[in-house]
Each structure stands twice: as C-alpha cells, then as structure tokens.
Symmetry: C2
Amino acid sequence: MAPVGVYDSGFGGLTVLRELRRALPELDYAYLGDSGRAPYGGRDVDTILDFAEQCVERLFGEGCRTVVVACHTVSCVALRHLQHRYGDAGRRVLGVTIPAAEAAVAQTRGHIGFLGTARTVASHTFRTEVHKLAPGVTVSEVAAPLLAPLVEEAWEDTDIARLAVQRYLVKFHGIDTLVLGCTHYPLLEHAFRELASKDLTVLNPAPGVAARFAVWRERHPGLAPVGSGRLRILSSGDTARFAASAARFLGETPPSVEHIAERGGRLAPCAEGAEPLGQVVR
Amino acid sequence: MAPVGVYDSGFGGLTVLRELRRALPELDYAYLGDSGRAPYGGRDVDTILDFAEQCVERLFGEGCRTVVVACHTVSCVALRHLQHRYGDAGRRVLGVTIPAAEAAVAQTRGHIGFLGTARTVASHTFRTEVHKLAPGVTVSEVAAPLLAPLVEEAWEDTDIARLAVQRYLVKFHGIDTLVLGCTHYPLLEHAFRELASKDLTVLNPAPGVAARFAVWRERHPGLAPVGSGRLRILSSGDTARFAASAARFLGETPPSVEHIAERGGRLAPCAEGAEPLGQVVR
C-alpha cells in the first residue's frame, strides 16, 4: 500500500520506471508525468521548484513513501530543495544525477560527454557530481533542446531524428563516453549508437538508477515495501496521448492513465476536458 | 514617449514587429520576448494567462498605451481576458487572430489550412473567427509542436527543417491557403513555399496584422503617438542568444537587449546571470 513514486516532467521517466520494474517487479509503483506542463528544460528555477513541489506532494498524497525524481532537469536543479523540504524518517526523495555520474565514471577513460536540456546543462550539476567522484575526469556538457520535443512528437525513428542526433554529436570532441542526460533520449539510443563512432560508449543512465535504487532499498525496506507489482499512472496532460506514447517508453501495455490538473496551486485529480480551450476570461 | 508594445513568447514576434516598423516607421516600439519561458504552445491555460498578464503589465510599465500580442497562442487563448482586464480609454490590447482570419478569408477559394502550436490549435479560435466572417469556408487545423523549437534552435535552413515541414504539410488534404499560425513559422516560409504544391498559397499573417494596425491607429492616434522610430527590446531569456537570433527575425540589427526576469510573480528589470544555476534550496 506504499507504491514507489516516480516523477517526470512527461513520458520520458517511463524509461526509468521500466528499469525499476525490471529490477524490482514485486514493488508497487505510482508514476506521475507532468505532461501538461512539459518540457521543463527551458523554464526558470522558480517555476521548476513550484512544479516539482506540486508533483512530489501529489505522489506523497497517493501514499508513496519514496519518490524517485526521474527527470534530469528537476534532479539537477531542485533535488536538494525537495530533500530538505520533504525528506524525513518516513519519506525520501531520490534523484538520477548521482547514479548517472557513478555509471559514467565507472565507464570512462577520462572524458565524459553529457547531453541534456538547456536548464540541466546550465546547472553543471552533473559535472559537479562527476568531479566529486573523479576530479581528473573531463566533462563536456551540450544542450540538445530539440530532442525531447522530437521524441514527444513520436518521430524518433525518422530521418529528422538521425539528422538532429548527428548535429548534436558533432558538438563533442574527444569524448569516450556519452551520457543521455534526459529521460527522453533513450528512445533515440538506436540513432546514437548508429551515428556515434565505434569507440564511443553511449550510456543510458536508467539501468544504473534502478541498480542503485535496489541497493538503497535493501537498507530501507520500509520506505519501499513489497507489494503486488501494481502500477498506476497519473498525468497532467492529454491522457489518450499519454497512453498512446506510454507503451513505447515503458515497454509494456500501461494501465489506464488518471488525469490530474493544477487547481489552486496544487495538482489534484481532475476530470479530463475540464480545461477550457477557446478564449478564457478570468 | 509612448512606444507601441509588441509581446511574444520569444523571438518569433519580431517578424510582426518587422512589418509594423515597415508600415509605421515613425512610431516608437518596445518589444518583449518571453524567451526564458518559451515556447508557450504546450502550456496549460492558467500558466498562459499568468505569463501574459506579467508581460503586458511590464509593457504598460514601460509607458506603452497599446500592446500588440504577436503570439498566436496568447492571442487565441488569453486576448479577451487581457482586453477585459487592461483595456480602457487610455490603454488597449490587440491581437493577431482576427487579422489572420481576415487575410485568409480574402485569399481562400473555400478551404483554409492553419498550422499552429498544440494550444493554439486546441483553442479553435482561428476557426471560430473565420466562421464569423465566412461561415461556408472549411478550416483544417494542424498542430506542429516541433517547428517553434526548431526555429529557436536556428535550424530553419537545414534538412531537418525541410523534413519536418514536409511531415506537417502531408497532414492537410485539399486546402488552397495555408496560414502560418505561429510567429516562428515565417522563418520557414521558404521551406513551405518550396515543398507545398504550386497552387497552395502560403500566408504569413504579419503583413496583414501591420496593415490592420495602421488603419486602427488612424482612429486612435493618441494610443500610438508618433515618436522618433526608436526601438527597445526586452527579453526574459539569454540576451546574447536573443541578440544573435534577433537580426534573422527582425531583418535589421537590433538594439542591445535589456534583461528582465520573474521576481515575486512580476517581470522586472534584472541583471543577467542573477538566476541561480546549480542545486537550489528555498
């Protein structure tokens, strides 16, 4: 009765949920995708903190004791804030940046490339975490603002995707390991592997996040108790569109998507279609 | 001393400003591009109303008596709200949807295509305005969520742009006139003309917006008084990036960009780089 919460700005975090369910299928999970307000990558800090608080509070409201912030943008900017605000003996907030840094450091021969949203890259949080583990490693960070919208459009198997990936790849020089630092990018992993030079390791951090979570959970079984493998999905966006995309990210048929929306500064269950569409006067 | 305010979510509205300055070069203008929070197209109504209020208030704070909302998304969703809230004998808020509808109706032989952001298309405001003018005209609306980010990335002259335009064009059937219903799309006008069938008219609404504004101004000279052709540009985004892109949109070298940022729910002048970038705790 205490699902593990997984929070992302949109669909992308389902690639993390997929690995969590593969590693720990006996747990219950509640996924919250804030698709109605995605992408977060170009937003200011105040907005990201506000949205992150709303989403984490919604998941705690659903009975979660642990929330995994799957979104790299939130993880790089707001994780410490969320941990200070919500973390206590009975509740935890975990992120993806440190597991991603650990996986990259374990892999690299000295020069890591990191691809993320504009906000993620501007934070330099990934580089900071790498340098805590391995001060001598070089980190090159590049923003790829077009890749997340491209995956949201379901165009990851098109020439457009391959051309965009190629344009971002040529911005790196001399890297041996490339971290896909946004939960959308694993959908483009095939394109990255096809277009990158053969000696470049393309790293999806999600399996590392799941492995690290499994180790953490052994020390904190009460915060992520064994359930019956149940899965709920909540989204602030169009649920039909979410359901259509979810299978691609999750790798299995998702349950029906429950709609939530901002009401009075909080994310609450909300019948879909309640959002007015034409001219609005308030 | 009362510039005409021109408001857009980002760079795109500079294509409207360009036409306004061509039609009425003797006026002063203040352009506000909310690039730090663009694109607006996937956002919920509450957020769009909030951002639009902040931006319009900033422009009135700069001495404007008239604000032209160049952004189709804001114009389709929030224009009536802005007019109710701020419009009075000494202040006006104008939009782009009605001029766009008028230009399209003047052009069409019976079937108009309209390309815009997800939110613009969901509002059906353009179709509503067309049907007020010409109830028998058919309107097909298609969302093109990738085009604005693509132009913001300055990739409009790449194969990626041409492939994306082609993918959106094939979603229309039987149209004779295509309205570029987002201020970013005129940067792709060349690609649209190259790829569309020869008998399809590709319509950039900006010249029509400027022509209609010039007529309106003759009746309201005090709301947009003659100045000395001065131009100020304010942006909530990276000013160096804005300056680098502005010339492409504006067709002339822009003045130095003044930075603004959200502070306590209002857009205020703000030294750039004041935004914290790493982990933030509030």
